[in-house]
């Protein structure tokens, strides 16, 4: 860290040098994602919450499209007064972002007039509009599921002739690929349609609570608004049900710590009616609930449970043991609801006047209206839809591999979507002409080089932030979603000249103090490796890890606010969690003994 003029700041974008051995990283990303010289004047932070790993070329779409949508909604559709959209840049494979603030008072006022009308309309009609939103999302999911990748057989389907379609199937290679991208874009527009308004309502309630109760832990505010019947908990609930079913069917002995899904399935098939019943229950549960992503839906390789059953199978043994021990496997929803309502009622009683209580009722009431969206949209968008989206793209990869352009289907994710366009054109032309696609010589060396570079880039430790300290953090998403506040910045800047080598500081997201052996997971696909009683140290916690939380003693993340789903889940499991440390995965090694203090937000390496 190079202090400039005494004021605290972070390294400047222009000071970041290429990682040796991966100097060609720019070839993977679009020109508009490069840092510009004038970007040194602005504050940027590493979005490790959504992009904790170096970006494969295709996956940059999961930054490009969300930012296209969120900015459109805040800046142009709802006309938020103090913030425009979010800009992103990629350096050494990592995504940095910044929100563009509006600071001119006259401009804010002009925008506020439009905003009040438009946002007011959504708040006023929230339930009705959200119901419509769900219908639309169901429609988008059906649409993406219906997309077929043309097989390009030697002769086209006779129906093209008998129904006089007049359009050969090579046309649909591009049309259907574009349709995937277009549907993904629409999904993100809908995703961000309610997002900022939803978070805005929460931030306002949060600020109120912090003013009325300066000592209130962030997590207590979160608990007051948290939903109980949250769709993101459904996959976990299904697992608990399957554990109970295993005991009921007498096949529970197959679910031992470290069990392998394939072996369990083959054993189940030889277990007669009990095994068959469990398998039927399993098939029923997995659609749609096992479309939950192992990650957060931002990387092609973050597979869904359906594609990688090790995550659900890592959680099942514990639930089975609970059922055997006579403990109810299902979440105690009534008790959770009663506790949430008790907390909200007690804080209400503690307020100073009836006037304050009336304002509190309004704000909390509004939060409860918007929260079903805030909590549930992820399952529809980042999980269910995105799982389908990546499956379709992989099918295009299979086509390219069959046609000899790519070595294997997954290589498609090492091409930028505009490069995929070119590869598909190549295939469409060759099929039409009866020739051979030319892409093998062009793309295969490129893909090999990119795979190599991504491995090199994986070891780079990106600074948590770049550029000068911002004057204001006006963007509710930045505060809510990323947990970036003035305090975070201070922690980040202090972390770079760390005083105590053995301590990592973050935010206490769930209280309690425990000691245990650390398991550092840089790659979310390794979550299945977590063993009973370990302490999870990860770049960011993903909602679908919920079930695995039952096994661990505590969770620590590099980034995340107290409203991240993982923080909520940690609280629900009653285990300490420290989030937003910026550094934990760098400073802590697997096997080290650590003490996690979820009250103070401190992780200490003790052996």
């Amino acid at each position: 860290m190079e202090p400039t003029g005494g004021a605290p700041s972070f390294p400047l974008p222009s000071q970041i040098t290429d990682v040796p051995g991966a100097e060609g990283w720019r070839s993977m990303y679009a020109y508009f994602t490069r840092f510009q010289p004038e970007d040194d004047q602005r504050f940027w932070f590493y979005n490790s919450m959504h992009f904790p790993e170096p970006m494969p070329a295709f996956d940059t779409l999961t930054a490009e499209i969300p930012y296209t949508a969120i900015g459109a909604n805040t800046a142009r559709v709802f006309v938020f007064p103090t913030t425009l959209g979010i800009e992103h840049r990629i350096v050494n494979g990592r995504v940095y972002i910044t929100a563009i603030p509006v600071t001119d008072p006259a401009e804010i006022e002009r925008r506020a007039a439009i905003f009040t009308e438009r946002a007011g309309y959504y708040y006023e009609n929230w339930d009705q509009l959200y119901a419509r939103w769900k219908d639309r999302m169901d429609g988008l999911i059906s649409d993406i599921e219906a997309i077929k990748v043309p097989a390009l057989p030697e002769f086209d389907d006779p129906a093209v002739v008998t129904e006089s379609k007049g359009i050969a199937q090579n046309h649909y290679v591009r049309e259907n690929f574009h349709r995937c991208i277009d549907l993904y874009s629409k999904m993100w527009h809908h995703h961000t349609e309610f997002l900022m308004l939803g978070y805005g309502a929460y931030v306002v309630f949060f600020e109120f609570c912090k003013k009325a109760f300066p000592e209130i832990p962030d997590q207590s505010v979160a608990r007051m608004v948290a939903g109980i019947d949250v769709i993101m908990y459904r996959p976990d609930d299904e697992l608990r049900r399957l554990a109970a079913l295993a005991v009921e069917c007498g096949v529970d002995d197959l679910f031992a710590e470290g069990c392998d899904p394939t072996e369990v399935f083959s054993a189940l098939r030889s277990r007669g009616e009990g095994g068959a019943r469990w398998l039927a229950g399993f098939e029923q549960a997995r659609e749609p609930w096992f479309n939950v992503s192992t990650g957060d839906g931002f990387y092609h390789h973050h597979l869904s449970w359906n594609e990688d059953l090790t995550v659900p199978f890592a959680a099942l043994p514990r639930y089975v043991a609970m059922v055997r021990a006579g403990k109810p496997a299902s979440r105690p929803t009534e008790a959770l609801r009663a506790e949430r309502d008790r907390i909200a009622a007690e804080y209400r009683d503690l307020l100073g006047s009836d006037e304050e209580r009336a304002a509190y009722d309004q704000m909390l009431g509004l939060c409860r209206v918007v929260f079903p969206y805030v909590e549930d949209h992820k399952f529809y968008c980042e999980h269910w839809f995105t799982t389908r989206f990546f499956q379709r793209i992989r099918q295009f990869g299979e086509l390219l591999a069959r046609q000899g352009v790519l070595g294997e289907a997954g290589d498609i994710f090492h091409l930028h979507h505009t490069e995929v366009d070119q590869a598909l054109s190549d295939v469409m032309l060759a099929w039409a002409a009866g020739g051979t696609p030319l892409g093998a010589g062009h793309f295969q060396p490129l893909v090999a080089e990119r795979k190599r570079m991504l491995e090199v880039l994986r070891d780079w430790s990106p600074p948590p932030a770049l550029g000068p300290m911002p004057e204001a953090l006006n963007d509710p998403a930045v505060r809510m979603l990323w947990g970036v506040t003035a305090q975070t910045l201070e922690a980040w800047s202090q972390a770079s000249d760390a005083i105590d080598e053995n301590e990592v500081h973050g935010y206490g997201a769930s209280s309690g103090v425990v000691e245990g052996v650390a398991r550092v997971l840089r790659d979310v696909n390794d979550i299945g490796e977590i063993r009973e009683g370990e302490i999870l140290i990860c770049p960011v916690t993903a909602p679908s890890w919920g079930p695995v939380f039952g096994k661990i003693k505590a969770a620590v993340s590099d980034i995340g606010g107290t409203m991240s789903h993982a923080a909520i889940i940690a609280r629900e499991y009653g285990m300490p969690a420290v989030v937003g440390t910026g550094q934990a995965t760098k400073r802590i090694k697997t096997g080290q003994l650590v003490r996690v203090d979820g009250d103070r937000g401190v992780v200490r390496i003790i052996g």
Binding site: T83, P101, I216, A359, D361, P476
Partner: protein, 365 residues
């Protein structure tokens, strides 16, 4: 006038007895009556104080001292120093009126029974309604480890005299408070030898937050905290969830302890291995917070509470935390009570107007 007008057991005193028992005595009596664990004791009432003042003036001119004080001007430091020194000397030197001495000795013996002369704490308890007693609370008007009837009588007179300390009189003259209704009760309680002690507030002393209990604790007698001789451990406990939301274990270098020869409270160094150790277990923090909430509930307003954990109970680890804790004082919190500001927010026409307002001007971080 009977004995019970001069001396009365804590169990027979309530808040309404403030004119008779003074603020501290009334509060301790109230706590005792409400079932909280207060070291057993009695109050030498304000009637006893009046009687003693009268005895200074055989002619019956009890008002003379008060008139002398009322004539003083708050900026006349020299005058206040001279006049109050004389008053204090007279009060401390005069023997207790006979009937009074008998009653006080009688209660002391009963407090000690069946043992011999037990050590007691002798604490002043004024009737003033304002924050004067709070502002000048401290060492000068509380005497610990007092043993034997003669010493007890001695310290009761010192407590009476402390009503005429320079600080106290200057304060009253600055506010122009009348002297007539002002009197001093004295609390005599069985001494608790504390392993650790401290104060707790049922709202945050630093932010005024009513949703937390803040506990400050250090080794030995609580006077170490009040006098600023030690940085205490600090715990912040949520009243709503019961969680300990902040804890700061300080390096507690000093403690106030009774000298081995019983000659008085000494400032000692804390043994090295205890300095950075938390002096409370989590169970004790939780128990203190629960007690604080019950006391606040009993009074209906935020409280400022002094407590101690008996050293004897170290031998009895099976004793639940709640039963190791003694309460030494509870008074209404005054700093934030007088500062309650404008409401954080007022209701709007529509709930979402709150959000539109906030998003319209941005969030200050």
């Amino acid at each position: 006038m009977s004995d019970s007008d001069f001396v009365r057991g804590l169990a027979a005193i309530g808040l309404r007895d403030r004119p008779l028992a003074g603020g501290k005595g009334a509060s301790l009596g109230e706590l005792t009556g409400a079932g909280f664990r207060v070291p057993p004791g009695y109050v030498v009432t304000t009637l006893a104080f009046e009687r003693a003042l009268q005895a200074l003036h055989p002619g019956g001119a009890a008002g003379e001292i008060r008139r002398d004080v009322e004539r003083l001007s708050s900026d006349d430091h020299a005058g206040i120093t001279r006049v109050t020194a004389a008053i204090r000397e007279r009060i401390e030197a005069a023997p207790l009126p006979a009937g009074l001495r008998g009653a006080i000795e009688d209660h002391y013996r009963r407090l000690c029974a069946p043992a011999g002369d037990r050590p007691v704490a002798v604490r002043s308890s004024t009737t003033s309604e304002d924050g004067a007693d709070a502002s000048f609370a401290g060492l000068q008007d509380t005497y610990l480890w007092v043993r034997g009837p003669a010493a007890v009588a001695d310290h009761i007179r010192r407590c009476w005299a402390s009503l005429y300390s320079v600080e106290s009189v200057t304060y009253r003259r600055r506010l122009g408070l009348p002297e007539e209704p002002l009197a001093m009760g004295v609390v005599v309680q069985r001494m608790v030898d504390p392993r650790c002690s401290g104060v707790m507030f049922t709202r945050s002393p630093t932010t005024g937050d009513r949703s937390v209990v803040c506990v400050e604790a250090s080794w030995g007698v609580g006077s170490a905290i009040v006098s600023g001789d030690v940085t205490p451990d600090i715990y912040v406990v949520s009243k709503v969830t019961g969680e300990i939301i902040k804890r700061a274990v300080a390096a507690k270098l000093h403690q106030h302890r009774m000298a081995a020869d019983g000659s008085g409270i000494r400032t000692q160094e804390v043994p090295a291995h205890l300095q950075t150790r938390a002096c409370l277990g989590d169970d004790e923090v939780h128990a203190l917070a629960r007690i604080a909430r019950r006391i606040e509930e009993h009074y209906g307003t935020p409280q400022d509470i002094e407590w101690a954990i008996s050293a004897d109970s170290d031998d009895l680890p099976q004793v639940p935390a709640e039963e190791r804790i003694f309460l030494l004082q509870s008074r209404p919190e005054t700093v934030w009570a007088n500062r309650d500001a404008a409401p954080v927010a007022v209701p709007r026409r529509k709930a979402f107007d709150h959000v539109l307002d906030a998003l319209g001007k941005g969030f200050s971080s």
